[in-house]
């Protein structure tokens, strides 16, 4: 359709999540017209990221070293670990500034229908960390979906017999939302998990 190199860029951009054919074309032609230095900086950033960033050997967060910045931070409480599905979920929890423990990225959630079982997630690695780091509490911060809930229940079944406290993020009402928009499941869970004022 377009000159070889341009079409190749469109194809590559179009493979990114959330980018359709049209957006890919717009981005590609933008890169054709911008300053040479701007386009090269983008290319170099992608290359540097691939060269320098991998996964933390302890928690599977993205890391620019053997271990991620959080695992290397000596002020972190090593007895409590927040278990998330994906590395980007760590950023979300960190932004709350309410958590001072470490993390563990599972790499997804249990999805029996799609053939994702415990063996496809970093659950054995988490098991290793319990005695090594003296972990006493696991917070299951998986998504509030059937798959995330299934994963949380599985973690409870696996780790509670070993004397580890397994907790789940409370389901509640979105701040700033209307009560009558809440679905029954969310509202029901918010009622069960209500707190005293």
């Amino acid at each position: 359709m377009f000159e070889g190199p341009v079409q190749r860029l469109i194809d590559e951009l179009g493979r990114l999540p959330g980018i359709g054919q049209k957006t890919a074309q717009r981005l590609a032609f933008h890169l054709v017209t911008v300053d040479d230095a701007d386009a090269r900086r983008l290319g170099q950033a992608v290359l540097d990221m691939r060269d320098q960033v991998g996964f933390c050997s302890r928690c599977f967060n993205v890391a620019a070293a053997e271990e991620c910045a959080i695992c290397r931070d000596p002020r972190r409480d090593t007895s409590i670990v927040c278990v998330v599905e994906r590395p980007q979920d760590i950023v979300v929890v960190e932004r709350t500034q309410e958590f001072r423990g470490r993390y563990h990225v599972l790499g997804g959630a249990l999805s029996p229908i799609h053939g994702v079982g415990p063996g496809q997630l970093h659950i054995d690695e988490l098991k290793q960390r319990i005695p090594d780091e003296g972990i006493t509490e696991i917070i299951a911060a998986t998504n509030p979906t059937v798959e995330g809930d299934t994963t949380a229940m599985y973690l409870a079944r696996e780790f509670k017999p070993a004397g580890v406290k397994v907790t789940r993020l409370a389901s509640g009402l979105p701040v700033g939302g209307d009560l009558d928009y809440a679905d029954e499941l969310t509202l029901g869970r918010a009622l069960v998990g209500r707190s005293e004022l």
Partner: protein
């Protein structure tokens, strides 16, 4: 384009674009519905948890060229007890997986729908275990016309000396009808147990496991997978 009402049980969903989700439902009136729920993955979505698998919902659909868009949802039943139990959730996953495999689009599916509803109600009521899933699979096999012969030879119809089970032959086979080396040998009592699971109402199945639960599930799974020509992934877990 038209707006219409329907109801269904959510079978599965998968991400679509940044915040949308494709939601596959089984409607008693229209079979498998592939719909899109816009913005449902945002925490402030007004759909909330109503479009998660296993939820029975009323929907208002805006008909599109390829996919219908869900514009309103209300919950008929969310089976919350089921969702709070790991074994029940895993059993429900198998039920929706196999229903998704046999359901057809744009085809009334009253019996299949009622079977799924009954299955989820059973799990929600606190009865779980492999026998419930096996019973569900056998009833589904009947619903879609692939029920295995369990009380007579699938080939000659005799009702004694049934010691083998043939996937391709359609169920139990007698010593004389089994093809050379064909069929699995059935352990004593297994055929009766399978017959019991096939004919007993789901609500009356005993939960938990017994010595025959595992073998019954094994035979049934292989039979259903063979005739649907599809592996049931949720049973690997």
């Amino acid at each position: 384009m038209a707006i219409r009402n329907d109801q269904g049980i959510v079978l599965r969903g998968y991400p679509f674009g940044d915040s949308h989700r494709i939601v596959v439902l089984l409607s008693p009136n229209n079979g498998k519905l592939r719909t899109v729920a816009k913005g449902v993955r945002k925490t402030k979505s007004r759909f909330g948890g109503r479009l998660e698998p296993f939820t029975h919902v009323d929907v208002v659909l805006y008909e599109g060229r390829n996919l219908d868009t869900i514009t309103q949802v209300s919950t008929i039943d969310n089976y919350r007890h089921l969702r709070a139990d790991l074994d029940a959730t895993l059993a429900a996953a198998t039920m929706v997986e196999v229903v998704d495999a046999v359901a057809q689009e744009a085809e009334p599916s009253q019996r299949l729908f009622l079977l799924l509803k009954r299955g989820l109600e059973t799990l929600d009521g606190g009865t779980t275990g492999p026998d419930v899933v096996t019973s569900f699979l056998l009833k589904l096999a009947t619903t879609v016309g692939i029920a295995p012969a369990l009380d007579r030879c699938a080939a000659c119809g005799r009702s004694n000396h049934l010691e083998r089970f043939s996937l391709s032959g359609g169920g139990a086979v007698c010593e004389w009808c089994r093809t050379e080396g064909g069929g699995m040998r059935l352990q004593p009592g297994l055929l009766d147990h399978l017959g019991h699971l096939a004919s007993t109402d789901l609500a009356s199945i005993t939960g938990g496991t017994n010595d025959l639960s595992g073998p019954a599930m094994g035979v049934t799974r292989r039979f259903v997978e063979y005739h649907l020509d599809r592996r049931l992934l949720s049973l690997d877990q």
